[in-house]
């Protein structure tokens, strides 16, 4: 990599890193994995930086690499790693009132990776269905299906942030 390319990459990382970390933490649900994912995506981008920069849309490129890397990781881990009980970060209901954002985080983590990516890209990154499809490498109709299903599964925690008796009862039923 030439020196000017290297300087360009440094500036690019400086610009996009905070946004990538925010996207990654929503996709992974974990700060450490979010850091790893961002580093992986940027590493892959670095290896092709002259061509990526010349194409003129490096942010879109690295975001796509980040999302596809995440989906690929999850698929690979699910098919090759031993099955483990995933210990959800539960909040002891008797200790403190549930944090609605924490509940959303937990619900997000419970979604399958592609469904989670579709929801995050549509409603956090504000991408259109077509843009989301391009990032995820699938069709717009698939994005629509995944987003609809994801929203349905999240709807329970998208009740009013302050728990009402009815909402609390609903959470107890879920368990």
């Amino acid at each position: 990599m030439r020196a000017e390319d290297s300087r360009g990459f440094e500036d690019f990382v400086s610009d996009v890193q905070p946004a990538l970390l925010r996207l990654a933490v929503l996709l992974t649900g974990d700060r450490g994995h979010a850091e790893d994912l961002v580093q992986t995506a940027l590493l892959k981008t670095y290896r092709h930086w002259p061509r990526v920069a010349a194409a003129g849309s490096p942010t879109a490129y690295v975001r796509r690499v980040l999302v596809t890397s995440h989906i690929s990781w999850r698929r690979r881990l699910m098919t090759t790693e031993q099955v483990v009980e995933s210990p959800p970060d539960r909040i002891d209901p008797g200790a403190v009132p549930p944090d609605p954002d924490e509940e959303l985080s937990a619900a997000l983590r419970s979604l399958p990776p592609r469904m989670r990516a579709a929801v995050v890209l549509r409603y956090y990154a504000d991408l259109s269905e077509q843009q989301t499809a391009e990032v995820m490498g699938c069709s717009a109709s698939t994005v629509n299906t995944q987003t609809t299903r994801g929203l349905a599964r999240l709807r329970a925690v998208l009740a009013p942030p302050l728990p009402s008796p009815a909402a609390a009862g609903h959470r107890e039923e879920r368990g």
């Binding site: 970390l21 925010r22 933490v25 450490g32 994995h33 790893d36 590493l43 690499v65 956090y124």
Partner: protein, 485 residues
């Protein structure tokens, strides 16, 4: 407020609250990691070792830039004239033995127990080229063995969406060409030659190198007329600066055959070669290589600065990290003095804690390599681990304070990460002070025998160890990682 609007707001809030802080050195870390990974190839021996020891690097997949000032070699020229270094008739002393060459060309690339081709486009298995696409690039005798390099069609290229170059971590994965090294005893007949290493796709315009730690044999193959220069190991001076000296070697027909002193430790880490074409450095890298896991490699012995903890199967990771110091520096065990400054348990999200260690390696120049290990006994004879960072320090600084952030997982998918700050200070230090980027005090904790293991969800910028009177004894940052180019 609609459900979708609420979701947008809350996702933004969650992201803002939970995202990790940006790393100002990330670009340089990525550049260092990219350089290091270009030198890596996973051999069959490594695959076999992985069955017994799962090494998971999730929490520490990256760490800091090289701690010591290491003047790098000339930057590789990416825009040089591309030449297929594997093209042309067979080269080497055995090129004239038509029967041998033909028989080697037809040897199977698969080995018993080799993983079958995968079903997923992203993991199509190991290349096994049709015989009609193969050609013997080079065949000859090296120190203690007979080697041959065979190239053929890469039948293991990722397909479909997985063929996106942006998704590749192996630059050769998409290449139409794959290679395999075959090794046999001295004077071997073709049928005695066995495929070594993992056949893999390569960029045929980049030189190839292969080494054997047990015999010291090294072969570098490039285009005829190219100049090959070799640096056997980095020189680490007393002030911890790192340099390399490259010496030209003979490379008739574009092939350099070397016989180095065998070390038993993977040569690919310390050994570096560079290839020049028309006076321009085409590439600087290390060879692929093999080291027989059945061989008895002298294990480093260490002195202990503090009492040993209760023995754990995970302790073996510390020895492994010490061997990494030897293979990275190219130094024999007899020339490096290892001292374990501390070893003990640190919190992990598993049913049992992780075992961490901090050690120093005194190099012949007096410079000090500070190393760490973090390991988890997974049961059944399996130990997984990583490191918590490393650094090169000038001579005389072996007893300086060490601070290391250890990120422990249970080594399963989706594991939580528990970060601990391990501080190893002088025995007379009584406290440690954690500082932020502006020098502000984040916290102060007592030390016991100079040691503290602290919860560290956030990485401090620096630590200060304090004497009994509150005076600052030392100040240092958490370890990054030594990267020797």
């Amino acid at each position: 407020m609609s459900t979708e609007t609420e979701l947008r707001d809350r996702l933004a809030r969650v992201a803002e609250r939970t995202a990790p802080p940006a790393d100002p050195y990330l670009a340089s870390r990525i550049a260092a990691r990219s350089r290091a990974q270009r030198r890596q190839r996973i051999g069959l021996t490594a695959l076999a070792a992985a069955v017994a020891a799962v090494v998971v690097a999730v929490p520490a997949v990256l760490s800091g830039p090289s701690a010591g000032p290491a003047p790098g070699p000339a930057a590789p020229r990416e825009d040089g004239a591309a030449v297929d270094v594997l093209a042309g008739p067979t080269r080497g002393p055995l090129a004239g033995d038509a029967a041998f060459v033909a028989a080697v060309r037809a040897l199977p690339w698969a080995r018993p127990g080799q993983p079958p081709p995968g079903d997923e486009p992203s993991s199509p298995g190991i290349p096994d080229p049709p015989v009609e696409t193969r050609r013997v690039v080079w065949a000859g005798d090296v120190a203690g063995a007979r080697w041959a390099l065979v190239a053929g069609e890469n039948t293991a290229r990722p397909r479909g969406a997985a063929a996106d170059p942006g998704l590749q971590t192996d630059l050769g994965a998409l290449s139409a060409t794959a290679v395999a090294w075959f090794v046999g005893p001295p004077g071997a007949a073709a049928e005695q030659m066995v495929v070594q290493d993992v056949p893999h796709g390569v960029d045929p315009t980049r030189p190839l190198g292969y080494s054997d730690a047990d015999t010291g044999a090294v072969v570098v193959i490039t285009a005829p007329g190219d100049v090959v220069e070799v640096s056997e190991r980095p020189q680490i001076a007393a002030d911890a600066t790192v340099t390399r000296t490259y010496t030209p070697v003979e490379a008739p027909e574009g092939v350099a055959v070397l016989a180095l002193a065998p070390t038993g430790v993977d040569l690919g880490r310390a050994l570096s070669y560079r290839v020049l074409r028309d006076g321009v450095v085409l590439t600087t890298t290390g060879p692929d290589g093999r080291a027989d896991p059945e061989d008895v490699v002298p294990l480093p012995t260490a002195t202990w600065a503090r009492a040993r903890p209760t023995p754990s199967p995970a302790d073996g990771m510390t020895t492994s990290m010490m061997q990494t110091v030897l293979s990275s520096t190219g130094l024999p065990a007899a020339e490096v003095a290892f001292t374990v400054l501390w070893s003990g348990d640190v919190p992990a999200p598993a049913p049992r804690p992780a075992r961490a260690a901090v050690f120093t390696a005194q190099l012949p120049s007096g410079a000090v390599w500070v190393g760490t290990s973090l390991a988890l006994d997974l049961g059944g004879g399996t130990v997984g681990g990583t490191e918590c960072g490393s650094a090169l320090r000038p001579a005389g600084e072996a007893t300086r304070t060490v601070a290391a952030v250890c990120a422990a997982t249970d080594m399963t998918a989706g594991s939580a990460t528990v970060r601990s700050l391990v501080v190893v200070g002088p025995a007379d230090a009584s406290a440690v002070r954690l500082l932020d980027d502006d020098g502000g005090v984040l916290a102060e904790h007592p030390l016991t025998d100079g040691i503290a293991v602290l919860d560290a969800p956030d990485r401090p910028a620096a630590v200060e160890t304090l004497g009994a009177g509150g005076q600052v004894l030392d100040r240092t940052g958490p370890l990054d990682r030594v990267v020797l180019d």
